[in-house]
Symmetry: C2
Subunit: 184 residues, 2 copies
């Protein structure tokens, strides 16, 4: 049971973003810019970063939600699953492997990102902006994972819930909308 009163029909992050909407707005805006804004990384690749970080932080709600969102974009459920299991053998580009390795270090602690990791990403063609965004997306999901679990928000058990949420995140993105969760 959550540590503060949240609407029962809004599990996970959704109830928290509803609970304090003035803080929710910049969180949503930041997420929309980073995960859906202009970028040389696809939305599916950026959702994989969110997935790897949420998995490392053992946030079940966020992991299931962003696994579903990544899969909605990538049309292949095995990609997110393999990325969570082992980045080095997952079916993603060498550049994405290097960026996901950096994201995984950021998830544990910022100082664990080494010059060698940054150089390895550059060797695979990663740009300044891609390095920057990978670190900031990983940092943002370190926020989300703590927000969701630190207040013990509810984690639905049914896989169908996350399929619906993944489709909402693909179709509507992260900005607020009045009918946002009408299909959830």
């Amino acid at each position: 049971m959550p540590y503060i009163p949240l609407k029962e029909n809004l599990p996970g992050i959704t109830g928290l973003l509803d609970y304090r909407q003035d803080t929710a707005l910049p969180i949503r805006q930041l997420t929309q810019i980073l995960l859906r804004g202009e970028s040389t990384l696809t939305p599916g690749e950026r959702e994989l970063i969110a997935t790897v970080v949420s998995s490392g932080n053992e946030c079940k709600f966020c992991t299931a939600a962003h696994t579903a969102a990544a899969t909605a974009f990538l049309h292949d459920p095995s990609i997110a699953e393999q990325v969570k299991q082992d980045i080095s053998t997952a079916p993603v580009s060498e550049k994405m492997k290097a960026l996901l390795t950096i994201a995984s270090a950021v998830q544990k602690k910022g100082r664990l990102v080494t010059p060698e990791m940054a150089a390895a990403a550059r060797e695979q063609g990663a740009t300044d902006r891609e390095l920057h965004d990978t670190v900031l997306i990983a940092a943002l999901f370190s926020l989300y994972n703590r927000y969701v679990d630190g207040l013990a928000s509810v984690t639905p058990a049914e896989p169908a819930f996350y399929h619906r949420l993944g489709d909402i995140l693909l179709e509507k993105g992260y900005l607020p909308s009045t009918d946002r969760y009408s299909n959830l």
Copy 2:
């Protein structure tokens, strides 16, 4: 040396917020609402939450900056220092000890916040909003700490730098302004 090109006169978080200003704006807005907006926690108490989390994440820049900001509000450098050493014996209210204990758990992992920690804070008079804001501030600084260290931004060595930054954070808060760092 930072992993991406940042302005040399803007160390720590300042160069990162300058590097990508479209993502910086919602980060700044969220911080301003949480740390300076209306609250039953004082700005000094909220800066102590930022300090404890940054210290736990071993982010030297953020720890020094928010120690200085807390001290600018609380007029006693020993308070932030003692909070970093041992929350249980620090010269803060019993409610703040319970909230800082929750923040410290969030810093490590969201799931480490226990129902007993939430109940202990309530026994000392903590409200729903105070519990919520403590968790979200701790989550936000888990983002900042990773952003600053994950890209290897520069950490100035001189204590005087952080005294000036603490005064700026007291006088100007977190929103962008053109002359923001003219005294830094």
